[in-house]
């Protein structure tokens, strides 16, 4: 089943990419965890890395960090070939599969272990602890830390080498909304300093809020790569419509379908909303048609897709046809069409 995905650094992105892979593949016996993955992560961006559980995100990250040997494929990180990971890792900070520390050691000592190993000055430890708001708890054992504190300590560990590329695997896992907002602000500040942030997360709302670039994989395959705006724009436009009288809902649905548009109803009674597959340009026509049939519309609004909806469409229930439509939409609605590559599932 062919899929289309954008695989360049993007029209409004810097020319250079912090991470590029071509045909990156990892097999465990007969199981293919990552299959011919072509990544292009723009330098200086916050790039989201999403996919269902078992999609291959962590395996991909481990290959980028030299922890796993790719079965096939090639790539570069910060301009160095993947095979030369010893050269680029000094400029990379990483939080992989959640924060892991020696529970009996303090936060400061845990960072000191890594700092000494990487030849990083001890003064940097206090800087990064302050940066993540753990300056006053740095000398407490990490076993006394809350999950949020451990996540922040993990980010502090990743920041130790003053990295050009930050790879964060699920940095908001288990955090409350306040903690998530803090991490989000932190990621933004890292990008503002010119760092590239490559962050995987299950929290699509967070990804949507903080990331300008997105990579979606499923079953080890790339299913989308490009800007978040492109992905959302690729979704078929919709109108959310409400009638004054709940009795008119069925008539409105029939009217819409007669004019060649799809319509679905959500909610009941006064809360019933008809979702119409049409752009906002058709809203005026719909209003006139409804009025001609004696229906009063009290609400017509363009409905913006969420990343979550787009995600489920491209990784789950979407059909070949809808994928084609989405790709066509990318071509027609963006002023500078992205490079499109074909991937075979």
């Amino acid at each position: 089943m062919p899929l289309l995905a954008h695989a360049s650094c993007g029209p409004r992105m810097p020319e250079s990419c912090a991470v590029v892979t071509t045909g990156l593949t990892k097999r465990f016996g007969h199981r293919v965890a990552v299959d011919s993955l072509d990544l292009a992560i723009p330098e200086g961006s916050i790039s989201g890395f999403v996919g269902p559980n078992g999609a291959g995100k962590t395996t991909t990250i481990r290959m980028l960090l030299g922890l796993m040997r790719p079965t096939a494929g090639s790539g570069t990180v910060l301009g160095y070939p993947l095979s030369q990971y010893k050269s680029y890792l000094a400029k990379v900070g990483a939080l992989i599969e959640g924060p892991t520390f020696h529970p009996a050691l303090s936060g400061w000592d845990n960072l000191a272990v890594l700092a000494r190993l990487g030849g990083i000055a001890s003064a940097r430890i206090a800087e990064v602890l302050d940066r993540v708001g753990l300056g006053d708890r740095g000398h407490d054992p990490t076993r006394t830390y809350s999950l949020g504190m451990r996540q922040r300590l993990g980010i502090a560990a990743a920041m130790l080498p003053d990295p050009a590329l930050l790879v964060l695997d699920e940095p908001t896992n288990g955090l409350d909304p306040h903690g998530i907002a803090e991490i989000r602000a932190m990621l933004r500040s890292f990008a503002d300093e010119g760092r590239t942030v490559f962050v995987s997360s299950h929290l699509l709302t967070e990804i949507q809020q903080v990331c300008e670039h997105l990579v979606v994989i499923e079953g080890g395959h790339l299913v989308f790569q490009g800007s978040v705006a492109q992905l959302l724009a690729s979704r078929a436009p919709e109108l959310a419509v409400r009638t004054e009288s709940p009795d008119d809902v069925d008539r409105l649905v029939a009217l819409v379908r007669r004019h060649g548009h799809a319509a679905t109803v959500s909610g009941r009674g006064a809360e019933a909303t008809v979702t119409v597959s049409a752009s906002c340009g058709w809203a005026g026509e719909l209003n006139r048609l409804a009025m001609a049939e004696g229906m009063t519309l009290v609400h017509i609004a363009e409905r913006h897709s969420t990343l979550e909806e787009a995600f489920f469409e491209i990784t789950g229930s979407c059909t070949e046809e809808s994928r084609e439509r989405r790709t066509q939409a990318v071509h027609t609605e963006t002023s500078d069409p992205p490079k499109v590559e074909e991937h075979t599932r």
Partner: protein, 261 residues
Amino acid sequence: MIFRPFKSEWIKLRRRRLWYGSYGAIAGVVVMTTVVRIAGATHRVGSSGNLTLTQLARAGGLAQGVTGSTILLGAVSLSIAAAQFGGEFAHGTLRNLLVREPRRARLIVGNGLAILSFIVGAVAAATVVDIGAAFVMAHARGVTTAAWTSGTGMGDLGIAVGDMAIAVCGFAIVGMILGILLKSSVIAIATGLAVLLPVETIFTDAVPETARWLPGHLLEAVAQGGTSVAGFAAALVTVSAYLAGAVAVTLLVFARRDVTS
């Protein structure tokens, strides 16, 4: 550059619980051996196999506690080393270390040297405590200690401590190898102790000649400056060859293995 992982590992090794636990255990084992040996010493040679008070009064008498605790010290050393390396897998901290030091052989060798220095330090500290305990026990049993403090006595003690240090390093290396290959502290310790203690004993009970080829027995021979079955030099060469081969294989496996923990 091996100095970086060496210094890094020492941050973990200096935590109080590990320090007190390990140094306390090793000192406790040595002192206990000394106390039992001197307390159990007889006035004349008997069938018990215990030392006599006359034997204890000789120059080598001070080293009895150190040389008599080989297996227990070996078990403690193996366990410490296996726990340190296996713990990196269990805690999931190995991946953090490898991002900061991707040269895997360098990481393992540096960390390993740090653990060996920790264990040798523990043996040295235990020896100091043991000397005090030996003099107290000797006074209690009326053993003359003049020969202990002679040049020969100090020399014998130095040789005994040196041999023991080599042997416990050997046991620790076995622990490290098992910790890395089995990726679990508990499994590594259980496997190591099972092989070096009951399994080897079963072999040597069945075929006594195998004692000169089994690593646990060879390390014990090294610690005791040689035994009737295996001389010191032969034991040292054979066990060194075993360990060198095992370390080489471990480094190769570790360098090529995907880090999934």
